[in-house]
C-alpha cells in the first residue's frame, strides 16, 4: 500500500512541470503561435527560480523569479516572431540554444548549493488517511497550482469572450484582423503567458523536485511538453491525461531500474522519449482526415493596412 502511494506521489511530482509548461504552450498555440523555445524558457526559469530562492530563502519568491525570467525570455520570442515576422520554428530553436547557455551562466554561481524544498501541505486528520491522504492533502503548492492552472486555462479558452477571440486569432488571423481584433497584441499576451508557465515549470524542478540546481536539469522536458500539446490535440482535458501518463512512464522506468529488472538503465531512461515518438505517430495517424491543430499555427502574420 505504501509503495502504491509513493508511486502515485512521485508520478504527480514528475507530471507537474510537464503539465504547467504544456498548459502555457497550449494557450500560446491556440493563439496561432508555435513557440519551440519552451525548453530554453524552462531552463532559464530553473536557474533564476533557484537563484531567487537561494538568495531570499523563500520558495515563493523563487517561483516569482522563475515566472519573470520565463516572461522575459518569451518577450524576446515575441519581438522576433511577432514584431519582426521571423520564422517561428527557427526563432524557437534560437531561444532554446540561447536559454541553455544563459542558464549555465546564471546558474554557475550556485551549482552545488542546496535549499530546503517547497513545503508540503499538512492538514491534521486528512493528510494521514492511508493511500489517498498524502496524494490529495499532502502535496506542495505547485501541484495544486498546476491543476488550478489547467482548469483556469480551460475556462478561459471555452467560457470567456477573450478566450474565443484568442482562438479566433489562432484559427484565422486574417478574419480576426478584419473584425478589428489586435491579432499581434493578443498573440503577444498568449506568448507571455506561455513564457510565465514555462518559467514556473522550470523553477519547479530545483524548488520542489530536487532541491539543487544542475546545468541542463530540464533534460528535454520542455520538448516533451510541446509533444504533449500535440498529444492533447490542443484540448486542456486531454492535456491532463497526457501529462500524468508521461509522468507515469518516467516514474515507471525509475522504479524498474530500482527493482533491478535485467534491462540496462539507459534503455529504461530512453522510454519517455520513445513513448513520445510512438504517441505522436499513433495520434497523428488517428487524426488523418482532419487536423485539430489551430489553422493558423506557426504562420507569419503581418497586418496589412
Amino acid at each position: 500500500m505504501e509503495l502504491v502511494e509513493a508511486i502515485i506521489l512521485s508520478v504527480l511530482a514528475a507530471s507537474t512541470p510537464l503539465l504547467i509548461a504544456a498548459t502555457g504552450e497550449l494557450v500560446t498555440e491556440r493563439s496561432g503561435v508555435l513557440n519551440l523555445g519552451v525548453e530554453g524558457m524552462m531552463i532559464v526559469g530553473a536557474a533564476c527560480g533557484f537563484g531567487g530562492a537561494w538568495l531570499t530563502g523563500s520558495i515563493f519568491i523563487g517561483a516569482l523569479f522563475g515566472i519573470v525570467a520565463g516572461i522575459l525570455m518569451s518577450l524576446i520570442f515575441a519581438l522576433m516572431a511577432l514584431g519582426l515576422a521571423v520564422n517561428q520554428v527557427a526563432t524557437g530553436l534560437a531561444l532554446t540554444i540561447f536559454g541553455v547557455g544563459l542558464s549555465g551562466l546564471i546558474g554557475a554561481g550556485f551549482v552545488g548549493e542546496r535549499i530546503s524544498p517547497a513545503a508540503h501541505l499538512t492538514i491534521p486528520g486528512l493528510t494521514e488517511i492511508p493511500l489517498i491522504g498524502h496524494v490529495l492533502f499532502g502535496e506542495d503548492g505547485f501541484v495544486y497550482f498546476s491543476i488550478a492552472l489547467i482548469i483556469g486555462a480551460w475556462w478561459f479558452l471555452y467560457r470567456t469572450r477573450a478566450g474565443l477571440i484568442l482562438r479566433a486569432c489562432g484559427d484565422n488571423h486574417v478574419s480576426a484582423h478584419a473584425l478589428g481584433y489586435p491579432v499581434l497584441r493578443i498573440r503577444t499576451f498568449a506568448v507571455m503567458f506561455g513564457g510565465a508557465c514555462a518559467g514556473l515549470a522550470g523553477a519547479y524542478l530545483p524548488l520542489a523536485y530536487t532541491p539543487f540546481f544542475i546545468p541542463g536539469m530540464t533534460a528535454g522536458r520542455g520538448w516533451i511538453a510541446l509533444a504533449l500539446v500535440v498529444f492533447a490535440s490542443w484540448r486542456p482535458g486531454r492535456l491532463v491525461v497526457g501529462a500524468y501518463l508521461f509522468g507515469a512512464v518516467t516514474i515507471l522506468q525509475l522504479h524498474a531500474q530500482g527493482f533491478g529488472v535485467g534491462i540496462p538503465s539507459q534503455f529504461m531512461s530512453a522510454l519517455p522519449y520513445l513513448a513520445t515518438v510512438i504517441v505522436l505517430v499513433l495520434l497523428s495517424r488517428a487524426r488523418t482526415g482532419g487536423s485539430t491543430a489551430p489553422a493558423a499555427l506557426g504562420t507569419v502574420f503581418v497586418p496589412d493596412r
Binding site: A85, L105, F267, T276, V281
Partner: protein, 363 residues
C-alpha cells in the same frame, strides 16, 4: 506613432548580402556589453575570442577540425530547411553514425584487418545516420507526426544508446573503468594531412560535400525542386513535384552527412568512442545553416566562423576564466540577430501615424 513592418515588393539583394555581417556586428556589440557585465575587460575578451585563435598555426588547424563536422551537418540541414522539412535531430544522427562506424572499429580491433576498415566505417556511418533520420521523415510523411519533435526525441535515445555501449559491451577492458572504447587501430583512423598536425582527411571530405551541394542546388532539377517546394509549396504542387518524396530525400541526405561527420569526428580527432564526443555540433550546425543563408558557400564561411568561436571560447576560458557557457549564449544571440536581419530582406520598417489611417484601418 507606431513602427510597423511593410512587405517589400521585391526581396532586397543588398540586405541579403550584408545581413549576416550586420548580425555579426550586432552580436559583437552585445557580447561587449555581456563581458563588461561579467567584469571582464571586453577588448581583451574579444581579442581572445576572435583574434588570438587566428594567430598561431595550431589554432588555425583546430578551427578547420571543428568546422568540419559543423559544415557537413549544416549542408545537410540546409537542404532540409530549403525544402521546409525541419530536421533538428542532427545531433542524434551524428551520434548514431559515430556508433555504427565504431562498431566496425571495435570488432576489428587487434585483428590484421586491412585498409578496407576505414571506408567501410564511413559508409556504414552514413547509412546508419540516413536510416536514423528516415524515422522522423517516414513518421511525418506516412502519419503526419511532427518531424520537429520526433527528430529531437531521437537525439536523447541516440545519446543513451552510445552511453550504454561504451559503459557496457564496448568498454575498453584496459581503460580503468572509464566509459570509453579502446583507441582505434591505425587502419580505423582518419589519416591526418600533415604529419604531426591536427588537420585530417575529413576536412577535404567536407569541402567535397560543399561543392556537391553547390552543384546539386545550382545545377540540377532535384535542387530546383527542393528550393521550389520550400519557397512556393503551391507552385510546386502545380508543377507536379512530390513534396513528401523530397522530405524523405532531404532527411536521408542530411542524416547521412551527420552520420558521416560523426564517425569522422570519432575516428579522427577523438580517436575512440566515448560520451560527450559532440559539444552540440548538431545544434550549432542549425545556426551555421542559417548564418550561411542556406547556401553551400555561405555555410562553409559560417562554419569556420562558429568554429572560431568554439576555439576562442576555450582560449578565453583558459586565459580569462570566462565560462564556456558564454560561447552558447553568443551562438544563441548570433542566431537571433541573423534571423532578425533576414526579416529586413522581405520587409522594411515604416513609421505610421495612427490618425492618418483611421479611416481605412478601423473598418
Amino acid at each position: 506613432m507606431q513602427l510597423v513592418l511593410e512587405k517589400r515588393t521585391e526581396r532586397s539583394n543588398t540586405i541579403a548580402l550584408v545581413s549576416p555581417l550586420i548580425a555579426i556586428g550586432l552580436t559583437i556589440v552585445t557580447m561587449t556589453i555581456l563581458f563588461a557585465i561579467l567584469g571582464k575587460n571586453p577588448l581583451l575578451a574579444l581579442q581572445a575570442y576572435f583574434v588570438a585563435p587566428l594567430t598561431d598555426g595550431y589554432s588555425l588547424q583546430e578551427i578547420a577540425v571543428k568546422a568540419t563536422p559543423l559544415v557537413m551537418i549544416a549542408i545537410g540541414l540546409s537542404l532540409c530547411y530549403l525544402a521546409n522539412a525541419w530536421n533538428i535531430g542532427a545531433e542524434g544522427q551524428f551520434l548514431i553514425g559515430a556508433v555504427a562506424g565504431s562498431w566496425i572499429a571495435v570488432k576489428t580491433q587487434g585483428t590484421d584487418a586491412g585498409a578496407w576498415v576505414l571506408p567501410v566505417m564511413l559508409v556504414l556511418a552514413a547509412a546508419a545516420g540516413a536510416l536514423y533520420a528516415l524515422i522522423p521523415a517516414i513518421c511525418k510523411v506516412k502519419f503526419g507526426a511532427s518531424e520537429i519533435l520526433t527528430s529531437l526525441m531521437l537525439v536523447y535515445v541516440a545519446d543513451l544508446l552510445l552511453d550504454y555501449l561504451v559503459r557496457g559491451p564496448w568498454r575498453d577492458p584496459n581503460g580503468f573503468n572509464f566509459p570509453t572504447t579502446a583507441d582505434f587501430d591505425p587502419v580505423a583512423t582518419v589519416p591526418v594531412l600533415i604529419e604531426g598536425g591536427r588537420l585530417h582527411l575529413g576536412s577535404i571530405i567536407a569541402l567535397l560535400v560543399v561543392a556537391a551541394a553547390a552543384i546539386l542546388l545550382g545545377r540540377t532539377i532535384k535542387g530546383f525542386e527542393i528550393r521550389v517546394v520550400g519557397a512556393a509549396p503551391r507552385a510546386a504542387r502545380f508543377g507536379g513535384f512530390n513534396a513528401n518524396q523530397l522530405i524523405i530525400l532531404t532527411f536521408a541526405v542530411s542524416g547521412a552527412l551527420a552520420g558521416l561527420a560523426g564517425i569522422i569526428e570519432v575516428a579522427g580527432p577523438v580517436g575512440h568512442l566515448q560520451p560527450g564526443i559532440s559539444p552540440g555540433y548538431g545544434f550549432t550546425a542549425i545556426i551555421v545553416a542559417f548564418l550561411g543563408r542556406l547556401n553551400p558557400v555561405g555555410i562553409l564561411i559560417a562554419g569556420l566562423f562558429l568554429a572560431l568561436t568554439f576555439i576562442g571560447g576555450e582560449q578565453a576560458q583558459i586565459a580569462m576564466k570566462i565560462p564556456l557557457d558564454v560561447t552558447k549564449v553568443f551562438q544563441g544571440i548570433l542566431l537571433f540577430y541573423v534571423l532578425a536581419c533576414d526579416s529586413l530582406i522581405l520587409y522594411r520598417f515604416k513609421l505610421v501615424f495612427p490618425n492618418r489611417q483611421v479611416a481605412r484601418g478601423a473598418g
